[in-house]
Amino acid sequence: MTREELVSDLKERFKSDIIDFYDRSPTRIYIEIKPESLVKVASYIFKDLKARFNIASALDAKTHIEILYHFTLEYLRVLVSLRVKLNRDRPKIDSLAPVFKGANWIEREMNELLGIDFTGHPNLKRLLLPESWPEGVYPLRADYKEWDKNAVRDRGV
């Protein structure tokens, strides 16, 4: 398979799932898909195209929550990132952890840091935050406010 074949294959196969296809550079492809199609598209890329799951990165874009799932196809030297945009009030998406084990920890991390609910995750509990951290406070949300007045934090700049 060549890079052109990959692009046309993905475009054709997931015609109804793709919202935006951005062929950014020879080594980077960004595909925005519908959130409900995630498991279908990600399983195809991971299992059929034999990609390696790099990681997922989520961020609060103020109007919505965005998750990018990054996959590397070494044999084509290309990194495919699947982008999904979720409702900010109640972000919810199907879990990829039942499809491949590599997604287990990062979904736990996104759950506690950004408050995204992963449906079907086998063990959705905290990974990094301590037990004393209050429920419903998500440190990577844009509107995060310091809740612990005694905490010593880097106030930066």
């Binding site: 550079s25 080594t27 980077r28 960004y30 390696r52 799951f53 790099n54 990681i55 990165s57 989520a58 961020l59 990018l68 990054h70 590397t72 070494e74 030297r77 990194l79 990132s81 491949f100 084990k101 590599g102 287990n104 920890w105 990062i106 905290r126 990974l127 990094l128 935050l129 301590p130 440190p139 990577l140 934090r153 880097d154 106030r155 930066g156 700049v157």
Partner: protein, 391 residues
């Protein structure tokens, strides 16, 4: 027989990072494992959003004290991906030299500690003495034993001085004969064969399913190395081999790391000899809005950085993924079913951190202590002695 729970860890930030392993054992066999991390969660991703693109390199260098160049390498590549700039050739070579020097000392550090856990304290002392030579080399080249602060988006901060190269090459060459003896001592030792072969096997299927990285995956026959798979640095201009073995046990992970050390020595020497002249920085002015991804093969596997910019001088999101994040969960398939005496070396075989291992205690569910951390290292060392007697 009643099951007991063994908590390993959690807190001892002497080395890299504290983790907490909860092993459930039935007699001598491990039947379940649970991993807790986050004891040293410093919120660096959030801090990074408060720093300018140039300052971030210094912050993320402090993520890890051992692979302190891998994070800046991946981060600068992510920023260069946003700005779509090409780094000057000389800077690429300097980056490669620093990154490979770091790999040599990181692999040697691991090898020494692995020797200690198995009761081979000679290896431990010997290897760490070799590592000291490499740290000297890094100090000559960059000015620091660690935290080299050589990287910046667009190039490197300081140039190398060619007057130093004869001394550097001499020092690097001086470790090779000792490393040869060591390689022979390790790879031909019947006790180490008996002790490490066939334990803690990570199958190729599991390595792919967990998306394991670096030497952990390459020991299981997964031929993936960012240095070969992505064209960056000076790696595609130098002749070197990717080390891949098939068995996936602890012994193969040792083999991969020992042989990779030789490859890194080769790369550093080639780069020093062929260092091209020219600029060391392409001077990026502004970072445009957009997003970028940077990867680098750290000593433990691929480091992955995702950076998003909105056109200001700070990133709006900076996601950092260290290789151990993907490698650590593989302990579910490697540790379950093994003996407690083997658990120390299997957990250490992915090269996570040793701080926890020396804090192992075995307690029964009602809180009574059975073994302390010292006892577990002793258990591991005694098993080696027993094998020695049998041979």
């Amino acid at each position: 027989m009643a099951r007991s729970v063994i908590p390993i860890g959690p807190y001892h930030p002497l080395q890299e990072e504290p983790e907490y392993f909860k092993l459930t054992v039935d007699g001598e066999k491990v039947v379940d494992i649970e991993v807790n991390i986050g004891y040293n969660h410093r919120g660096i991703e959030k801090i990074s959003e408060l720093k300018s693109f140039d300052q971030v390199t210094f912050v993320i260098e402090r993520i890890c004290g051992i692979c302190s160049t891998s994070h800046p390498y991946a981060y600068t590549r992510a920023v260069e991906d946003i700005a779509q700039v090409e780094v000057p050739e000389r800077a690429k070579y300097i980056r490669t030299i620093i990154a490979e020097g770091e790999r040599i000392h990181s692999h040697l550090l691991w090898l020494g500690l692995a020797g200690h856990f198995l009761g081979y304290n000679t290896i431990y002392m010997w290897v760490w003495k070799l590592r000291e030579e490499i740290l000297d080399v890094m100090e000559i080249l960059s000015g620091n034993r660690n935290h080299y602060a050589m990287f910046k988006p667009g190039g490197v901060r300081r140039d190398l001085n060619p007057d130093d190269f004869p001394l550097v090459l001499k020092k690097i060459d001086s470790i090779v004969p000792t490393l040869d003896r060591l390689k022979k001592a390790i790879l031909d030792d019947p006790v180490l064969h008996a002790r490490l072969k066939g334990i803690g096997i990570l199958t190729k299927e599991d390595a792919l399913d967990y998306s394991a990285l670096g030497p952990t995956a390459r020991a299981s026959g997964v031929a993936k190395d960012v240095r070969k798979d992505v064209s960056y640095g000076a790696y595609d201009q130098i002749d070197w081999d990717m080390i891949v073995t098939e068995n996936g046990d602890v012994f193969d992970k040792v083999v991969v790391r020992v042989l990779e050390t030789y490859e890194s020595i080769k790369i550093v020497k080639e780069c020093l000899k062929n260092l091209p002249p020219g600029e060391i920085d392409c001077r990026i002015k502004d970072i445009p809005p957009g997003e970028g991804i940077g990867t680098h093969e750290a000593p433990r596997g691929e480091t992955f950085h995702y950076v998003r910019s909105d056109g200001t001088n700070r990133p709006v999101r900076h996601k950092v993924r260290a290789p151990t994040f993907m490698n650590l969960p593989t302990c579910h398939s490697t540790v379950i079913g093994c003996d407690i005496a083997d658990a120390t070396i299997i957990l250490a075989s992915i090269d996570p951190c040793y701080c926890c291992t020396e804090r192992m205690t075995v307690v029964t569910p009602d809180g009574k202590q059975l073994y302390t951390g010292k006892d577990l290292v002793r258990l591991s060392q005694e098993k080696t002695k027993k094998l020695k007697r049998m041979l």
